[in-house]
Amino acid sequence: MQRSSWLGLAFLSPALIVVFLFFLVPVVLTGFFSFTNMSTATGVKGGAYVLNASGLRALTDAGLPKSTLEQIEGAGYRVDAKGLEALALDFGKPVAEEFAKLHEGEVFSKRRDVERALKDLRSNPIRKTRDRKQAADLFKRSLMNERFDSPTAFEAALEEAGIPETDRPLITEVAYTGWVWTTDNFGFLFSLDSTWQYAKNTVIYVVFTLSFNVLFGLFLAIATFYLPAGQAAAFRAIWFLPRILPPVLYIVMWRWFTWDTGFISTVLSGFGVPPRNWMLDTEFHAWTTIVLINGFVGASMGMIVFSSAIRAIPASMLYASEVDGASRLQQIWYIILPQLRWPILFITSYQTMSLLTSFEYIYLATDGGPGGATEVWALAAFHTALNNYGGNLQYGLGATYALILVVIGLLASLAYLRLFNFRNLLVKPRIEG
């Protein structure tokens, strides 16, 4: 290999590491996660084995024999080191030592048997019945709420408790608190009515916002092209602001503009219209605001791209068309618009992609409201996995939502690659040394 190859790879390696860690791995992991039931409850790392009340309920529902269930709840009384230690602490060392000598390792199935054994102690019997009961309880062993770190330890405990071998796998599965592989997410996702609602919302969102972006971006670019330089610069500066302002501040302004204490309400109250939240009071208003909020930002991108494309048209061409007697509209239709074919295609494809996946402005403005009317797919993914009021974040299900967007994104990006003249990009380096 040439020396410049080494230099090239060395120069590229920091970028490769970063890209690997935060693009490649996440894309693959989104796929993996969507096949898990990961959630706040299961945690992200591995889990432990614990049977709790809800687990028991699940087992009951699964039709586990009643005897087995009872065995789980009351796995008997075991004279073990742990119990003896507690006994020594509560009733003195000699009691514990004697009890250990006589019964260590034994298992009693009923409390009464333990009590009798305690009563039968020769030198240090526990006199009071109440105390004996208490002492016996120290040896009570149950599988409930006991934490095991590995499946083998849990299975061993089941075996010790005498639970039939046929029931054990099911109990182990239920007891596992970590996440497991599953394909249920996909079926579940499409069984929900809300999923289809999200898809519909997304289409509304993308179609209307995109139309606004492209059409108004075109209008801005062409209008500022014909306006006197000063006015044009002023309008460009104004329309560039939504893009450059931090999104949160931008939304603060919109909320102020539309909310019940805000601009529209205040002005209209002068005409006797009662104040209300113009952003959230109806679905139609919510959508209008969302489209405008995103559209004002998106149109500026169209404006910039189209403006530079228009400026690239040779002035002589425009002069020629004027000399040929074309009106302003004819000039726009026959000269300018044909030149904007590629920029329009670029903006359309690029913004379709970014609108499909963006949720920042919607989250800040309506958060999907009112009543989920503006909940788009990307926002649903975000809500499911990362931010909801229920508190149980379903990473796995959220990843399933996201996976669909990732796949669309990847396909679209590959299509994008074809749009570019990739051959031109592949010019060989001219120094070969």
Partner: protein, 276 residues
Amino acid sequence: MKPNFRNWPVLLVLLVFSAPLLIMLAFLLVDAFTTKVPGTMIPNGVTLHHFRFLWTDLDDGSWGIWGVTLNTFNFALFTSLAVSAISLTAGYALSRLAFPARGFFLGSLIVLHAFPTVTLIIAIFLILQLLGLYNTLIGVIVVKAALELPFGIWVMKGFYDTVPWEIEMAGVQDGASRFTVWWQLVLPQVQPGLMAILIFSFLSGWSEFILPMVLAPGTEAQVLSTYLATMLLDGGTQADFNLFKAVGLFYALPVAIIYLIFQNKLMNIYGGGTKG
């Protein structure tokens, strides 16, 4: 252009559509510094009360505005430095150096450039948890820098492409290694590109909201966007918009300054398109 048509209908349409923006911007400035009788739009007094967050704690559990501002500055600065540094070398490699699988890397760059990174946030959230970088500023910086990187490399490569090959050939003939040629002869030619990326990624980091919100929701790593968003989203109907606007103005001040200085340059970079 010769005035063979009337401008005023176009101007009128422009003004109508621009009105919401103009009103929002005007009242952003006005409301932050004035008081009003509720239910009217006309200010009746000048005040700095809305800026009280600068010298008193708002008692909302946040970390104090100056700590948050420092976080934001660090976040934006280190993001921008990381993106610039990595783009500077990677862009050169892709533009000028011959190495195996170069075509593949160039293609990947375009794909990455177009790829909607926000879809990866769930996986990234989980990765940061596994790496132990969840809820740290460093974690968010690393992720933000990574997501900005394809754009940075793309822009930087474009700048490298415009440097004449002959300059490099001359350097090689003069006896300099490819590294020296890059460092001493090529880098000075792409300074505008470096500036562009520094500014762009600084602004992008300064404005970023989703990543800090998701990846570092704790108070320790709070930045101005999440600070303001928390106010806004927790405000409910009792929202104190005057306060929000004052905070917003304070937040947007560096952006406004950079915008005023670099307006034209910025328009060109944003033309390359990242958000929207």
